[in-house]
């Protein structure tokens, strides 16, 4: 599949710091791409270069196989910045119309699409309200609609779920899936890993202006697994000794978390446990969450720190 966006060795320096320092990645057409990073990592600067707001100091951006030309390609990009930007005193309908027309839609076309989206998002009664009358979550919805209204090929969402209740978050999530299915490519920028884990196919992790991780969610999890397994018992055995096959890393209700030692397989664990005639209900591999990986990489601390302290009553 063709890449919609290729970012090659992008650099951007501000007076006081290297905001983006030699970052490259590619995004496939139709993918949902997650860009992760702690606050101040350079995500927004990167996005601003992709949206043509900033010029990179070095490196190049290839959009649809050609060099990115902000003036013409901008029509194909929808950007929802982290801080919501709407005219507070403008009527919502007029505002949506204005932003859609700025993206090059004709008035009639823009009207049709606004009606369609307002109906879909249950916003029909908002038309004559002003943005200042909306709650934060409501204006978020409006901002989302204005971002995707012109059906851009590339949709860039910076923290799209902040301030949304679960119902509206899942509403927007569904729309994002729908847009991706229709062929739009989506870039997510966030520091909340939970969101990314379920939505994104591919992620990059940015920290201090450099890329420190790149790959599919599945592969990254495999790369960072720590051979942890969760075993569920009918009744949790009071005492399981650490042995040369595994050690107990923690407990969770009736479950025990085991860490398999180097050189052994899950198979060996099961054999050992069965030999002790415990009643096992479940046996799962525990892959690290992106959150764990993120914190580990960013803070440079071991994964185990996230678990509850081991209960020595075992």
């Amino acid at each position: 599949m063709q890449n919609i966006l290729e970012v090659n060795r992008l650099k951007k320096n501000f007076a006081t710091q290297k905001a983006v320092d030699d970052v490259s990645f590619t995004i496939e057409k139709g993918a949902i791409f997650g860009m992760l990073g702690p606050n101040g990592a350079g995500k927004t600067t990167l996005l601003r270069m992709i949206t043509g707001i900033f010029f990179p100091d070095e490196g190049e951006i290839i959009f649809n196989g050609r060099k990115f030309d902000p003036e013409n390609d901008i029509i194909n990009i929808g950007y929802m910045p982290e801080e919501r930007g709407l005219y507070k005193k403008m009527k919502i309908g007029e505002q949506a119309l204005y932003l859609a027309r700025l993206k090059g839609l004709s008035k009639a076309e823009a009207m049709n699409r606004i009606k369609y989206w307002f109906e879909k998002m249950e916003m029909q009664t908002w038309w004559n309200k002003k943005v200042q009358d909306l709650s934060k979550g409501m204006s978020q919805k409006l901002q989302f609609v204005t971002t995707v209204l012109h059906e851009p090929q590339l949709i860039i969402l910076d923290e799209p779920f902040s301030g949304l209740d679960p119902v509206n978050a899942s509403l927007i999530k569904d729309e994002i899936y729908g847009l991706a299915k229709k062929g739009s490519t989506i870039i997510f920028s966030t520091h909340r890993m939970g969101e990314v884990e379920e939505i994104c196919d591919h992620i990059v992790l940015i920290n201090r202006g450099t890329k420190i991780l790149d790959g599919s969610v599945k592969k990254i999890k495999q790369d960072f697994k720590e051979n942890l397994f969760e075993v569920g018992f009918e009744k949790r055995p009071e005492l399981i000794q650490n042995n040369n096959i595994f050690e107990v890393a923690g407990t969770r209700g009736e479950h025990i978390i085991l860490k398999i030692h180097e050189g052994y397989k899950p198979h060996d664990v099961l054999q050992y446990l069965l030999a002790q005639s415990y009643e096992i209900i479940s046996f799962n591999e525990m892959l690290p969450s992106l959150n764990d990986i993120f914190i580990r990489l960013v803070e440079d601390t071991p994964l185990a720190r996230q678990f509850q302290p081991v209960e020595k009553t075992l």
């Binding site: 901008i74 709407l86 005219y87 932003l99």
Partner: protein, 436 residues
């Protein structure tokens, strides 16, 4: 190009549709015309505030008679056989509102003349009385010096000098400094206010876009320059609309009012008739009206529109740059606006000098220097400005408008997307010299 139109349209419509716009646009001319009408009404009917004045003239100053003009509706009664002390207590019971007491002396003690009243006497009434007393004293002194008061009246001079401009084209234009002064001053003040009001409107608009992070959304659809120019042109159009409505409204009101208050305007609308009693007065007023008509109205109007647009574009781009640089802090905005305000205020000061001395070096310089020329040139143009000065001034204004727009666009581009940081002059300079 299409996008800049959209932006202009939005900036224009959102402002014009506002209730406050409608209110100020309609109220201002009504207030001005109303004020004007009230002033006229007061000046006509002010003296009808009739007083019943008792005069105890111990000095015989008035010799028992008082001169009243037609407008004076007060009654003056001379009383006798009373003293200040005795009458002071009862003048009200006898139906008088005021009691003027002139002590039995000669004119050296004139300041002992007193007027008794219940409440404090209005300035208007007091000055009317003073005028009468002074006239009476003057008359006494003239008689004492063996001068016939009528002869003296004829000796007193009250002459206006008429200025004729020989433009070399064979024709002579009559000029009247008063007419020019009023028009020049009004034009200059108007331009000054326009630049200030609409300039700050642009600045606030830019600040709104910056603090609400709208700029980021728009800039991902249109170029920052388009956004800036769209705003400047849109607000400029709002200003022009407002002025057009004002002129139309004021014109209509001035036509309508005489029909609503006919008796009020009968007297005013024909000043020559009204003042027929005094030849000198009608002559002056006639000369004023005549010279008003003789002013180069066409050139003045053209200059007004040109310097309005040129000056506005120049200052609006500067205000836009300031708006893009400040963050939410209002105080910071005031600090940064200062360097823009200074030439504007300087222009105003030079203009007030230029209306009195239009050809002084300072005035000529002020009307050339693009940052002050819109205000100062309006102060000069009614006196007739050599055409080459006008051309140079306009050319400089256009050139500097282009230069400043180019300059401020660079500041604006960077400033509008930069948050939470106070920006120094040094940094701004870097943005200007940096290649984009």
């Amino acid at each position: 190009m299409n996008k800049i139109w959209l932006i202009i349209e939005r900036e224009y419509l959102t402002r014009v549709k506002k209730k406050s716009f409608l209110l100020t646009t309609i109220l201002v001319p009504i207030v001005i015309v109303g004020f004007y009408a009230i002033m006229i009404a007061v000046s006509i009917s002010g003296e009808s505030n009739a007083q019943n004045i008792a005069i105890l003239d111990k000095a015989g100053l008035f010799e028992g008679k008082i001169e009243k003009d037609k407008k004076d509706k007060s009654t003056y009664i001379f009383i006798e056989n009373e003293t200040e002390q005795s009458f002071k207590t009862k003048y009200r019971q006898e139906g008088y509102t005021l009691f003027l007491y002139i002590p039995p002396v000669n004119d050296t003690l004139a300041e002992q003349i007193k007027v008794h009243s219940q409440a404090s006497v209005s300035l208007f009434v007091k000055s009317a009385l003073e005028k009468k007393v002074n006239a009476a004293i003057e008359r006494k002194r003239l008689l004492a010096a063996n001068i016939d008061p009528d002869t003296y009246k004829n000796i007193k001079a009250d002459v206006e000098i008429e200025n004729t401009i020989d433009s070399g084209k064979g024709q002579e234009t009559k000029s009247n400094a008063t007419a020019s002064l009023i028009i020049s001053f009004a034009g200059g003040v108007l331009i000054y206010m326009i630049l200030l009001i609409y300039g700050t409107m642009v600045m606030r608009g830019v600040m709104e876009e910056k603090t609400n992070r709208i700029a980021e959304v728009i800039v991902s659809s249109a170029k920052p320059f388009q956004l800036m120019m769209g705003k400047i042109i849109g607000i400029g159009a709002v200003g022009l609309t407002q002025f057009a409505i004002w002129i139309v409204l004021m014109g209509t009101l001035q036509l309508i009012i005489p029909f609503i208050f006919p008796q009020l305007f009968e007297q005013v609308s024909n000043p020559v008739l009204q003042e027929a009693g005094s030849n000198a007065e009608s002559g002056k007023l006639g000369l004023f009206l005549q010279s008003l008509a003789a002013l180069p109205i066409g050139i003045i109007l053209f200059c007004f529109v040109f310097y309005f647009i040129g000056g506005y574009l120049l200052y609006a781009s500067l205000f836009a740059a300031v708006g893009s640089v400040v963050s939410e802090d209002q105080q910071e905005a005031q600090q940064l606006v200062l360097p823009i305000m200074m030439p504007l205020i300087l222009g105003f000061v030079i203009m007030t000098k230029a209306v009195n001395d239009p050809d002084s070096g300072l005035a000529v310089f002020g009307s050339m220097f693009p940052l002050t020329s819109p205000v100062v040139m309006m102060g000069r143009v009614t006196y007739g400005v050599p055409w080459w000065q006008l051309v140079v001034s306009m050319l400089l204004l256009v050139l500097s408008f282009l230069f400043f727009t180019w300059l401020t666009a660079k500041i604006y581009r960077t400033g509008i997307l930069l948050y939470g940081k106070k920006i120094s002059w040094k940094e701004m300079w870097k943005w200007i010299v940096r290649k984009s």
